[in-house]
Structures are given as C-alpha cells and as structure tokens.
Amino acid sequence: MADKAILYDATRCTACRGCQAACKQWNGNDEVIPTVANSVGTINRGSYENPPDLSPQTWLKMRFTEVESDGKVGWLFTRQACMHCTDAACVRVCPNGTLYHNALGFVAYNKDTCTGCGYCVDACPFSVPRSTRNILTGVAKMDKCTACTTQGLNRIEATDAEIDATSLSWAGERVPACVKTCPPKALMYGERADLVAVGKQRVQALQAKGKAQANLYGETELGGLHVIYVLDDSPAVYGLPVSPQVPPAAIAWKDVIQPLGWFVGGLTILGLGMNWLVARANAKKEAVK
C-alpha cells in the first residue's frame, strides 16, 4: 500500500485549535485533563499557547510565535505533533519493537508491550513522544499521535461495520480527527505522493507572491516525513529543526550496538552450549573411568 500523509499548510492555519480539541476528544484524552479545584490544571502564562507542552494526554498542540522585523509584526502558528518519519529514531531505539511503522507509513505503537524505558523520548529529533510513570503502580507508558490509527479508535482503517457500530459516526470519512475538523482547510489527508505535489504547488504560488523563503518541509527530511508542512519562512522561524537528524546514539544503538548485542548474546548462547557439550563429554569420560 502506498504511504499516506497529512499536509499542514501553516499559511492557511488560523490557530483556532479545533485540531487540538478534536485530537483530545477523539482519542479520549479529554478524560485525563488534570483538574484542580473548580478548574483545569493549566494557567495563563502570558500566552495563548496552552497546555505548555506535549504530554501523554496532549498529542497535538499549536505553537504561537510572535515575530517582528522592519516594524512589521507577525504571528506564526505551528502544529506540534508526531511527524511520522520514515527514518524514525523512536522506532530505531525501541528495545522491544513496541514502536513500528504501520502499513500506511505512520509510526504506530503497541501500548501493551511498552515498558516505558523512555529511549524514544530522548531520541526523537522533534521532541514528540512523552512518557510519565504512574507514582502508584510504577508503570510507565509512552504516548503520542498515531494519525488516528490507534486500535479501537482507528478512523483510517475502520471497516464500514465498525463505523456503523460506533455511536460516534464520522460520516465514513477516513481521515484523522484533526484533519476532519480543520475549518480553514489548513490540514489535508491523502496519498503522500499526491500531497507532496499539492505542497509543491502551494510553495510555488507563495514564492510567486514574493515569499522567497517559502518551502516544503518534510519531503526529504529523515527519509520523508508523513506530516508535511507548507511554510512561508525558514523552518527555524517556525521553531522546527532545519535539518532534523536521527541522533548518532540511536544509529549506533540500532545499527551497531543492538546487532552487536544480538551477536554477543548469540556468542554467549553458543559458548554456553559448547560449555554444556564439553562438560557432558567430560562427565562421560568420568563415568567411563
């Protein structure tokens, strides 16, 4: 199956944050918004941006950045959520295969096998996955955006029967909740190749309007992201890494240490087996004597 993707056009986004609310609502993260006495657990910190960061309960959040140059003020809006990299550091470092690429190309995970080791949290170049340890049970689980492919909440691969069976019908449109809700149509969902083409057209149109810095972010980064951004300025201005890389340690882990680990482990087993054989031979010799 050809890869799918989400196209986010920052120049169309009005930061209404319908996506942020829809993400929580669809994925059931509304039930765990921390509440304090008579209120929720956020405060106004002198910004429209809230909650302050991604968390296991916040998989998508809008970032607001004020800029000023030549006396002209600008207000930039950026989506912050999993970029679903092809060369995904989180998948590389995951010790037990909890994180994987699904058939659509998105980075999914099996929460049952997650041990909460937190390697993915440290390795992600976009600083997306989050894990918190339950202070009572000691159990830790990582959470992040799955492009609405989480088992039981799968908007993309759900069968007609499954859609009919849910009380929350979404008119059968198989797109992530954030895309479905976006009023100015800043978000699109579809074949990755098609969206790259749309994105390139948009960038060309912006450049023709005088936005020389306009660019398509995610076409080639990290082997190609599955969330692609249309930006009218450098990624750095929007707070995105200009040239995101899988950390060397993650490469070392997956490509060197982990294979080496398997090799060393294999050698150990082999050694133990040899040991057993030698020991048995020795034992037989002893018996003959």
Binding site: R17, V40, G41, R45, G46, Y48, G74
Partner: protein
C-alpha cells in the same frame, strides 16, 4: 449580510474592519482563504494584531472608537480619486443607482460648517440638557419638483447635490487628520485606501466584513452608514464578492433579529407600535414610506399587507375588518420612551420592573457595567432564567461580595435543550433559513424553548380568561394552536403564512393581502414553507428550509439556490439589480449575479439569482422599469440618509469616554446619546488608557457553553488583558503577572499577556495606550474569573442603543 458567506470567495479585496473572523467566525475563514487563493487581498484593521491580521496581506492599527474618522478618510480618498481618475470608478452606478445626484435642501448644513453639528440641532455644542439633545430634521430633505419628485443633477456639479455635499463634509478627513485621531500611520492608512479603492473599478468587488467591533459604539450606526457610503461610491453593493457583511456571532442571531427580538421592531423589521398609533391606519400613516417618483417601486408601500397579515396570524378569527384586525389588542410603547437593554436594567434598578425572563442570555456576565446589572437583578421580585448550564445570572446571589441573605429575588431555573436536542430552523448570517432535526434527547428535565413558551402561553391564556387583567384581550384573543406538546412545523407554517379561507400555504409575499384573507407571521419569510406539491423533493415536503440540494446556480457563482432557503424569496444577494448596467448586462462578467435575457418569456426576463424587483432594465423599458434599490422610498441607495438620529452622513465624535479632545470639531462625543449615569464617566487623568473588550476563538459569549468544556478551558484557562510591551514596561508588569484593570465602574483582576501585537498609538504628538480585556468569564462553571464587562459603561448608540462595549477608559496596575 447583503451577500452570503460563500460569496466572500468571489471578492477581490476583503476588508475585516470591526471584526475578527479568524477568531470569532473560524469556520467562515475558509471562504476568505478561497478568495486569497484567487489572488484576493485581505485587509485587517484592528486595534491589535489578531489571528485575522496574521493571515492578512495588509494590517492597519486603529484606536478603538475612531472608525468614522478612518472610513470617513477612506471616503475622502475615494471622492478625490473619482475626480482625479474617473476611469477607475463606475460613475454610472454612482449617478443612476445612488442619491449622489439628488439635490438637498439649501438650508442643510453639514457638520463641517457647524463645528461638528448638522443643521437643526436644538442644543448648543456639547449640550448636557437631555431635552435639547435632538435634531429638527426639516432641512435634512431633498429639493422636490412640483410633482413631489426629488430634483437631480446627474452632472454631480450642483453645490447642493448629495455628491458635492459629501465632498464638503469629508474635506477635513485628510490622512494627516486620520493619523492624529486614529493613530494609524499615514502609510498604512493610504495603503488600505489604495487597495480597497481598487475595487471601484467596474467589474471588481470588495466586501467589508464587520461584527461587534463596529456596532458597539455610541457611533455604531454611523459606522455602518460610513461603510454604506464607501461601498456605494465603489459600486460594491449588489455585486458578487461585494456587500457589507455582518458576521453574526451566534448561530441564530440573524433569525432573532428577523423576528423582532429588539424593542423597536416587530417581525419582518416592521415598526413597533406606539401609543400615538390609535388605529391601524394611524400606525400605517406614520410608518408607510411615501414617494411620488413614478420610477421608484417603493416596495414598503406594501406595509398595509404585511401588518394586516401579521395581525391575522396573531389574532386569527378575532382579527377582522370590523375590529380593525385586533389592532387595539396590541401593547404599545409610550411615545419618546426607550425600552432598550440599558433602559430595562435601569428600570429594574429603580424598581419599576419587578420580574424578568432571562432566556438564553447571561446579563450578569454579558451586560454592560455588569456589576450594576447584577445589582439590578437583586431588586427583582422574581427571575426566571433558562439555559443549558447554571449561569451567573441564575446565581447572581452567589456573586463575589454579595450577601445572599439580603437578596429577596425568587429565582426559577428552567433547564433548556441544546440546538441538537430539538427540531427547528436556524437562520445564519447569509440569511439562510436552515432546517434541522432533533439528534438526541435532552438531559434530565431539560425542555426546548418552544415547549416552555407554549406551556407558559397556554397557562397565561387560561388565567387571563378566568381572572381577566389589564389588556386581557391581547392574551385571550391570541391565535395559539401549535398543540401540546407543540409542533414546531406548525409554527414554521404560520411564519410563512396561509390563505385564511382555504388554509393553503402562501408562496411568496407578493401574494399577501391587506383585507384579512391572508395571515403571515413574518413577511420576509413568506415562501419558506409552501404547499407540499410546490416543493415535493424537499426532505420535509413543502419546507424549503429543509432542502439539501447542492445543484449549482445558472452562472456557477456559488449561490446554491436549492440549499435551504434564503430570505427574501430565496434571493442570495440582495440589491442584485445594482449588479448590472442600465441594459441588464452584468458589470462583472466573471461573476454575473443576474443578466437580462430578452428571449425569456414574452417580453424578456432575468437569468441568475432571484432578481431584486422583477422589472426590466432602466434602458430597455424606462416606463416599466424601476430603480434598483426598491426598499428605499426614492428607489436609489442613500449616501445621504434622513432616517438617522445623529446626522444624515456620519461625523466623527470621540467615544463617550476618551483620552483626547476631538480633533475634528468642538463637539466631543455623540450629541444625541442619552447619558444614564454621568457620575460614572471616567476622566482621562485617572483612567488614561483606552480599553476595549473582545472574545477569543476558544470561548463563546458569556462562556456557559465553553467554560464548562475541559478541552477549551485547558486552552484558555483564565481571563487576560492584552497590552503592549511599552505599556507593560511603564507599569512594571511582566508577562503572566496578575493585573488589576480599573474603570469608573469597577475593577477586574486578569493575567497580563504582554505582546508585540499591541502597539502604543502615536497621535498628534502624544502617545495613547490601549488594552484589551476578555469578557467570557464569571463566577460559575469549570473555569471562573472576572468579566471584562465589569468595566464597560451604561451608554448606548444614538440610534440603536447598543452599549458602547468597545471603547472606554481604564487604568492598570500590577497586582501586589
């Protein structure tokens, strides 16, 4: 809206002025994006840089309350440019479709000639005697010929023609003056003028999108008048992609206005009855517009048909020729008395009003001077409040600082159903009446509004019938037969109207009569719910509001004429006969709204949208034709409007509370406004900062629906005050600090959002700061905090009495 939401996509320049669609009408922003995709420019004029400004090609800051100056300056720019570059403007539109050529009484003097007042003012400059704050409008009139037809000079040269009077009035509105008043840099102002004036070219269209930032001023109505003049000079009314579009802030606020929820009108924008209207005829003599020009349709000469049909709908068989169709039953206003929001709350304060039904509204948060309005609630004997949630109004006795043991008001709460828990229609900003169905049962004992009003009315009828009472006939004779529980389709059918002899639904207000043979609950909605065989394919046969057919219109300009139903008569763009030239050819070939088709029928006819006045074009058949603006008595659009209370063309006055003297004239604030509480006038020495109120995308109105939603509260958890970095530094305030904002009415505590998006205004050599406060908060619900309306004054617009929420004076300090 004169046009409709989807039509914004056809604009060449979209100007958001007094509105912030990205934040307060987020779903509609898609149409602006579509226009931009076509190459349209978006202009955002706002005191601070908003989420709309972030998407705009052009942003111009403006000090709150100075819109008349700003738009007056644009009018002057266009008037000058029309003379310098006439080829860039549609002069036929201006001379033939507006009253630019009409001659005005030579005794009429514009404000430019009389220190800021128009001729006929009873008082002196800055008059304080309320009795003298009014105009004698004798000179605000056209010169008439011996047949009573207004005289015209189509060369626009006569010094008394409206065009020349307009030039005289706006000569003072120079870019330098605009900067001195509005604080808008000259370059930014001129760029806005240039860009928007580019739509004056024949075939181009610009739209003005506005909301409460325009209306909630003591000059609110004149702000809209200024837009009208600008749009008429640019030939932007009636055309696709043009118009003046009021973006409604609630799903059905258009519907409630259509149905006369304001004190001064009854359903269908007909005039309210006063005690001077001793008979139906006396009333009609007062309200029916008169005209002697044979080429003017003067559509409202049909007033007798609409009012008689309305009386038949209200009083049924109890309304007949012999009893003046029950006109005597109607309750009437006392002449000269005002029954607007502010007046009502003042009357509660003084104990004149003993009971209040607060239906789907929350004055304890949303009302101006809301501390005062909370006190007024405590003076009531009883309060019935209906809402989806417990509101601050229901629980005003729990407000901070209130000793509930001293409150004697008995409060009844009626839990209501949400819009998806009941069937009915909603009319959106586009004037589309859209039918919708019940999707879920309401929780607990919640009932829908119709159920409540039905029960109430049936009980009242029973009580008045058995016990009598003052004017009992008004209630007892009321035609009220929707069943119990009531059938909302029955109500919709009555709104449309029916033949009182056959009982058949009437198709269109042209078929209404003034002899009692027709009944109609709202004449502009006539044609919405017809006989089933007239609209058999609608999901509810006959109910055109229920239609969901996306077949495009003839010229494919996005009208979708079979989607729902648009008042009047399913017309999607009103005044559309101004979209064509004198031969019926569209000005804009790319987006034709209508087009004269000589081969249609026997004598020709119109293609496209439902034509506004089905007459042939003026040049094709000058005898049968009529001027295009059929809703004015003279048939053309008004650059000069006699109906206004405070001047036939807008003149700039400072808001009631202002930090500076009026730079335009010696008249400081609107000369007509009634001042309710002079002691609560804030002076600039104590309150030097301009304050304004607004909303954010994440919360809605007084907050009952959104402050109880955890997702939304998480995103905007607390009320805040936005201020510039310069002001914050001056006051020693850091981003995120708790700040006290105080006005002459009260004070609030809010979080400081210190931002580059607010800048101090540099005006006439002085610096004026402005701050903005949110008003979504109160003391109930998941998230609590102060409402910005604790700060706002009890003063209203001279024409409509809408409170001046958008410009007042405050001071701020860091909370220690």
């Amino acid at each position: 809206m004169t046009n409709h939401w989807g039509d914004i996509a056809n604009s060449d320049v979209v100007m958001a002025l007094g509105g912030n669609p990205a934040e307060n009408h987020p779903a509609a922003f898609n149409f602006i994006t579509q226009a931009k995709d076509r190459g349209a420019k978006l202009i955002s004029v706002d005191p601070r840089f908003t989420r709309t400004s972030a998407k705009a090609d052009l942003y111009a800051p403006i000090r709150s309350g100075t819109d008349v100056a700003f738009v007056g300056g644009m009018i002057k720019y266009v008037l000058d440019d029309i003379e310098a570059n006439p080829a860039n403007y549609n002069l036929i539109y201006i001379t033939e479709y507006t009253n630019a050529a009409y001659l005005v009484n030579p005794g009429f003097k514009v404000a430019a000639e009389l220190e800021g007042l128009f001729s006929g003012y009873a008082g002196a400059l800055n008059e304080t005697d309320g009795a003298k704050k009014k105009y004698d409008k004798a000179t605000w009139a056209y010169q008439l010929d011996d047949k009573g037809v207004p005289k015209k000079d189509k060369t626009l040269k006569d010094p008394n023609c409206v065009f020349q009077v307009l030039k005289k009035q706006y000569a003072r509105y120079t870019p330098e003056k605009i900067t001195a008043i509005c604080g808008t840099p000259v370059a930014a102002f001129l760029e806005v003028c240039q860009t928007f004036a580019s739509t004056g070219r024949t075939g181009k269209a610009g739209v003005i999108l506005y909301a409460m930032g325009t209306t909630q001023h003591t000059n609110g109505s004149e702000n809209i008048r200024a837009y009208s003049i600008l749009q008429l000079l640019l030939g932007n009314m009636g055309v696709s992609g043009g118009g003046i579009d009021a973006m409604r802030g609630e799903s059905n606020v258009q519907g409630s206005t259509d149905f006369g929820l304001l004190f001064d009108s009854i359903p269908g924008y007909l005039g309210m009855f006063t005690d001077a209207d001793v008979s139906r005829q006396k009333y009609l003599d007062r309200v029916t517009p008169k005209n002697s020009d044979p080429t003017s349709a003067n559509w409202l000469s049909n007033y007798p048909k609409y009012i008689t049909s309305l009386l038949k709908a209200w009083y049924g068989d109890a309304a007949n020729k012999d009893n003046d169709f029950g006109f005597h039953n109607l309750p009437k206003l006392e002449t000269g008395k005002n029954y607007s929001w502010i007046s009502l709350f003042e009357a509660m304060q003084t104990g004149n009003i003993k009971g209040l039904l607060a239906w789907g509204q929350n004055p304890a948060v949303g009302g101006p001077n809301s501390n005062g309005e909370r006190q007024a609630l405590a003076k009531l004997d009883w309060l019935v409040a209906s809402d989806l949630w417990m509101t601050e109004t229901m629980e005003f006795w729990k407000a901070p600082g209130v000793d509930s043991s001293k409150v004697n008001t008995e409060v009844f709460v009626l839990p209501a159903r949400g819009s998806f828990e009941k069937e009915g229609s909603v009319t959106n900003s586009s004037r589309w009446m859209q039918w919708r169905y019940k999707a879920a049962d309401g929780p607990g004992e919640a009932e829908d509004d119709l159920w409540m009003i039905n029960k109430l009315m049936l009980k009242l009828k029973e009580l008045y019938a058995s016990e009598g009472g003052p004017n009992a006939g008004a209630i007892v004779n009321m035609n009220w037969n929707y069943g119990d529980p009531p059938d909302v389709r029955q109500v919709a059918k009555e709104i449309n109207g029916y033949d009182t002899t056959t009982g058949k639904q009437i198709d269109g207000f042209a078929n209404l009569k003034d002899d009692g043979t027709t009944a109609c609950g709202e004449w502009v909605y006539c044609g919405s719910y017809v006989e089933p065989d007239k609209e058999p394919d609608a999901p509810v046969p006959g109910n055109r509001a229920s239609r969901r057919d996306l077949t495009p219109d003839q010229f494919n300009i996005g009208l979708y004429p079979k989607w729902a139903w648009s008042w009047p008569v399913n017309r999607r763009i009103i005044y559309n006969r101004a979209a064509v030239d004198l031969n019926g050819e569209p000005w804009d070939k790319e987006h034709p709204v209508i087009k004269w088709n000589p081969t249609k029928g026997e004598t020709g006819g119109w293609d496209g949208d439902i034509v506004d006045g089905n007459y042939p074009p003026l040049a094709i058949d000058p005898v049968k034709s009529r001027y295009p603006f059929i809703m004015t008595a003279e048939g053309v659009a008004r650059l000069f409007a006699q109906g206004m209370a405070d001047g036939p063309m807008p003149e700039f006055y400072e808001p009631w509370e202002s930090p500076v003297p009026n730079q335009m004239s010696g008249q400081q604030s609107n000369p007509i406004c009634k001042v309710w509480r002079p002691a609560e006038h804030g002076e600039a020495d104590k309150f030097p900062i301009v304050g304004t109120t607004y909303r954010v995308c994440e919360h809605w109105q007084a907050g009952q629906m959104t402050r109880n939603m955890p997702w939304l509260v998480e995103m905007q958890p607390e009320p805040f005050v936005e201020m510039s970095e310069e002001l914050a530094q001056e006051k020693g305030i850091d981003n995120g600090d708790s700040v006290i904002v105080a006005s002459a009415r009260g004070q609030v505590t809010m979080k400081a959002v210190v931002t580059k998006r607010f800048k101090p205004f540099k005006m006439n050599g002085r610096t004026v700061h402005e701050v903005g406060v949110l008003w979504h908060w109160g003391y109930t619900g998941l998230s609590t905090g102060d409402s910005g309306n604790i700060l706002t004054p009890h003063i209203g617009d001279a024409n409509t009495m809408i409170p001046e929420y958008k410009a007042f004076l405050v001071n701020i300090s860091k909370k220690v």
